[in-house]
């Protein structure tokens, strides 16, 4: 992923740090910030990579060179702004990739309605981690791919779990679930059918949504239930 031109709307904590990381990785970045004081602060570090202006205005986007942008990331603190910036980037300027930040997770459905994907909500991500109750199920939700109807979870194999000491091929996994990697003693590998999974292994599983319970039964066992 070399040499992208990225426009970032919003020089808050997310936008500023994102710009820093992308520049360090060798990408070209323009950050747009509508607050004069914030702009002056950020400009001391980012210099010409930040411009002053309201990114919902078309001329501001055009001045930043949106016509040649490979990626537009809208991370202002205002969901309407993020939605509209991504909408014009995608539909008016035909930018191929957009990423939107959702501040209030209740607005997520508005982003979906307008076809703005991916829309990322930090609150929503943390909420999901809490709701999946990591200690109880021993299962961490890593990634949802709603379009593809798939998710990826991570779990630690418990001492008394049915899977401990079993070969992958012998596991009672439901259809629609696949062990894609095993982490043991700090290094990971892709398991084969005859790989024996041990207690304490961290396992990544890709699965159809709704199969979490069956997976948990196999890897976590009974001791940590309830």
């Amino acid at each position: 992923m070399a040499g992208l031109y990225v426009i970032i709307a919003g020089a808050g904590k997310v936008g500023w740090n994102l710009a820093r990381e992308l520049i360090e990785k060798g990408h070209e970045v323009t950050v747009l910030e509508q607050d004069r004081r914030r702009y002056l602060t950020v400009e001391q570090e980012l210099e010409h990579a930040v411009q002053y202006g309201d990114a919902t205005e078309l001329w501001v986007l055009e001045r930043a060179g949106i016509q040649r942008a490979d990626l537009v990331v809208a991370v202002t603190g205002d969901d309407e702004d993020n939605l509209l910036i991504c909408q014009v980037a995608k539909e008016k300027y035909l930018c191929e990739r957009i990423i939107a930040r959702v501040n209030n997770p209740r607005n997520l459905e508005h982003f979906k309605l307008m076809g703005i994907q991916p829309a990322v909500s930090a609150t929503d991500l943390i909420l999901r981690l809490i709701e999946h109750e990591v200690p109880r199920y021993g299962l961490v939700h890593l990634l949802d791919l709603p379009e593809e109807r798939l998710e990826i979870i991570e779990l630690v194999v418990a001492e008394d779990a049915p899977a401990a000491g079993r070969r992958v091929a012998e596991m009672a996994l439901p259809d629609g679930a696949l062990v894609i990697s095993v982490l043991r003693n700090g290094s990971g590998f892709v398991p084969k059918a005859d790989t024996v999974v041990e207690a304490g292994d961290e396992v990544l599983v890709v699965l159809d949504p709704g199969l979490e319970q069956d997976i948990t039964r196999e890897f976590v066992g009974n001791s940590s239930d309830g």
Partner: protein, 141 residues
């Protein structure tokens, strides 16, 4: 007709009161309770007694839109003081609730024009002011 007005500032409240006087069913959604007083004053009587509906809430809350009656609305007017709110909420009315007639107030002329091309009816007070000023100042007398 059932008319839902989101944002009852100077523009929205005038449109709401004239629609009510014309015999339409009118529901107003605004986050500021003060807007309710403006409606009473403009109407010269209590908004509710005259048959109007008023809901306090912000435009992007689906619950507030539903409480204000968006499911029955035949006309939806987005007239808050923010272009971005108007553009988002009018698209929600159009795409999610399938309101037959949606009109959004957009001050930014370029975006008003572009969204109009995309099939959203926009009214741009700035553009109207520009044209009238040019006419008043530069027309041959």
């Amino acid at each position: 007709m059932f008319v839902l007005v989101v944002g009852a500032g100077r523009v929205g409240s005038s449109v709401a009161t004239s629609a009510l006087r014309a015999g339409h069913t009118v529901s107003v959604l605004d986050e500021d309770p003060l807007s309710h007083e403006r409606l009473d004053v403009e109407l010269g009587q209590s908004w509710e007694e005259a048959g109007g509906r008023f809901t306090i809430g912000t435009a992007l809350e689906l619950d507030a839109l539903i409480e204000a009656g968006i499911d029955e609305a035949e006309v939806f007017i987005a007239s808050t003081n923010g272009d971005n709110t108007n553009l988002v909420v009018s698209q929600i009315a159009q795409r999610r609730f399938k309101v037959p007639r949606v009109v959004a107030r957009v001050l930014d002329p370029r975006r008003a024009a572009w969204y109009a091309e995309q099939g959203l009816q926009t009214i741009c007070p700035t553009q109207i002011a520009i044209e009238q000023l040019q006419e008043a100042a530069l027309a041959e007398s």
